[in-house]
Subunit: 129 residues, 2 copies
């Protein structure tokens, strides 16, 4: 599962470089004692912090804590927080934190929400211009 | 040696967080197919890309390529490129690429240059304000 996660992160990493953005994978994200995203991408003007998820289900639940950490890191670093989700046989969809559905104890993204509110990478990178 | 390098990177990472900056270690820096620094730090306004070196000698040689890559990454990402060096029994010194001495085939930093031109972390972080 960890290897699958890294492969997924690399997929997005390549897309950024191909589009003239610099992008790095964060070492020990999720295990560090500080909040940290999976990916950090930037160009001369904009910076984005991204949490990537490959999902073998029709929904993905995000613990409140995980979303809070992404938000906190992004505020401190001076980046926009985004979530990238990939459901089986679907494209990567990029969502803002406002796009996630909030329940009492967690955030949720369904395939439907991703397709409805999410941006394809090309749309996402265009928006950033 | 790799473990020593990671420990050194973590030392600087902690300093940034203690000073209200967000900082991450870059996964696979040095082995990635894209240019990438060891550390990326940022606050709401500034971003810095840092190459860290622990040195068991009186001089440290940087291949031209390594410096070029740091410069290229920093330009693309929109960050300032810095080098942090730690000689035995000395503090961390932060140097800009202009502080490095250029020879035909590489860049050099001696203990003397580090002490003369380098900034201690506290001086470096003050400069960034």
């Amino acid at each position: 599962m960890k290897r699958k996660g890294i492969a997924a992160e690399r997929e997005i990493l390549h897309k950024f470089w191909q589009n003239g953005w610099a992008c790095i994978r964060v070492a020990g994200s999720g295990s560090s004692c500080y909040p940290s995203p999976d990916l950090l991408a930037g160009n001369k003007i904009k910076k984005v912090a991204i949490e990537c998820k490959v999902i073998n289900d029709t929904k993905k639940y995000f613990p409140l804590e995980e979303v809070e950490q992404l938000k906190k890191f992004s505020e401190m670093f001076g980046a926009q927080p985004w979530v990238a989700v990939k459901f089986s046989n679907k494209e990567w969809y990029f969502l803002t934190l406002e796009d996630l559905e909030e329940t009492k104890s967690q955030f949720v993204v369904s395939i439907k929400t991703a397709e409805l509110r999410g941006l394809l990478f090309e749309e996402f990178i265009d928006l950033m211009k």
